[in-house]
């Protein structure tokens, strides 16, 4: 019995799953997540569930088929996509497990579970106080100091320097010879 046949409506595949050659490959990818752990016939079981081989195929031939399938780039991309999708489905199961953990005060990780939940519902506030002092003197301060220096210079009899450019100007006509 195919894994796909277990569900009433076919799922909406992601782009990478849709890019696979056929439903057998898609079933193979899905079966990998339900198969026994790696090293205990995971690939063989998935290939068999997906409908590869014949009733008389040996485990050896099924493992070769599965190994070839899993080397394909499209299959690997589809596995990655399916992993992300299933990861997003995990929280309900995780929450159920945490609820059980919290309900059991004798569990060795009971306190850790409590702390974890409290951290997420009422996070500890960390305040960073950053004081930035801008100490550079302002233009007004500098002008004031220069004015005081000039006052001191005048008192000492120093004639102020002439302005940068001095001269008399007359407007001349645009005609040139």
């Amino acid at each position: 019995m195919s894994v796909l046949q277990d569900i009433e409506a076919l799922p909406e595949w992601g782009p990478k799953m849709r890019a696979l050659a056929n439903d057998r490959q898609r079933t193979f990818v899905c079966a990998l997540f339900d198969a026994p752990p790696h090293g205990k016939g995971q690939l063989i079981w998935s290939a068999k569930v997906a409908g590869y081989g014949t009733p008389t195929s040996t485990n050896k031939s099924l493992s070769v088929i599965a190994a070839r399938l899993i080397q394909g780039e499209k299959v690997q991309a589809a596995i990655q996509e399916e992993s992300h999708r299933r990861m997003r489905l995990l929280p309900p199961a995780a929450i159920t497990a945490i609820q059980k953990l919290i309900a059991d005060p004798t569990h060795k990780d009971h306190a850790r579970a409590l702390a974890m939940v409290l951290d997420r519902t009422d996070p500890v506030e960390v305040k960073h106080e950053v004081n930035v002092h801008h100490d550079a003197p302002t233009i007004e301060m500098t002008e004031k100091v220069i004015a005081r220096i000039e006052q001191l210079a005048r008192r000492a009899g120093v004639v102020p320097l002439p302005p940068p450019i001095e001269g008399e100007f007359t407007v001349v006509s645009g005609e040139t010879t």
Binding site: A136, P137, T142, E143, I146, L152, A153, R155, I165, G167
Partner: protein
């Protein structure tokens, strides 16, 4: 604070016109690097401090610091030319120093004020030894032998 000696504040044409309007002495001052303009009031300040009583260790330290001001540009002869500061100069110096906080060891704001055209102009008028030191440098430069151009090692003989 606008400074006519800075071309980026005046515009290139105005700055050139301003340079042309300067006297020979003023032009010498304009062409003295600000870092050395800054050294001169400090040397005069230190010389003024040396006129007062102080522990021998402090005096030695101050003399060493004064000696460390000299280099190939600001020569010991130029340092010897500079006269100690007058009371007015001391007051002006303290005003300029008030712009920097104690922790500002670089004294950037004080530097900008002391080396500005207006303020350094007042200092050199109150203490003509600054201009004398700058002129001394010009004379030393003029007296120095011109360097012969270096010949290429790889030049082939005809």
């Amino acid at each position: 604070v606008t400074d006519p000696a800075l071309p980026e504040q005046m515009g290139e044409d105005d700055h050139r016109a301003w340079l042309d309007s300067l006297s020979a002495d003023d032009r010498l001052v304009v062409h003295t690097p600000p870092g050395y303009q800054h050294l001169m009031p400090w040397a005069a300040y230190a010389k003024r401090a040396l006129q007062f009583e102080m522990p021998a260790g402090s005096r030695l330290k101050l003399l060493e610091q004064l000696n460390n001001l000299t280099d190939l540009y600001f020569t010991p002869e130029m340092l010897a030319t500079i006269e100690p500061m007058s009371d007015t100069e001391i007051e002006m110096m303290n005003e300029a120093r008030s712009l920097d906080r104690e922790e500002h060891r670089l004294g950037q704001a004080c530097f900008m004020v002391l080396t500005s055209w207006r303020v350094f102009g007042h200092f050199r008028r109150l203490n003509p030894s600054y201009l004398a030191a700058i002129k001394l440098r010009e004379r030393m430069m003029a007296a120095a032998k011109p360097r012969r151009p270096r010949q290429s090692i790889n030049r082939r003989k005809p």
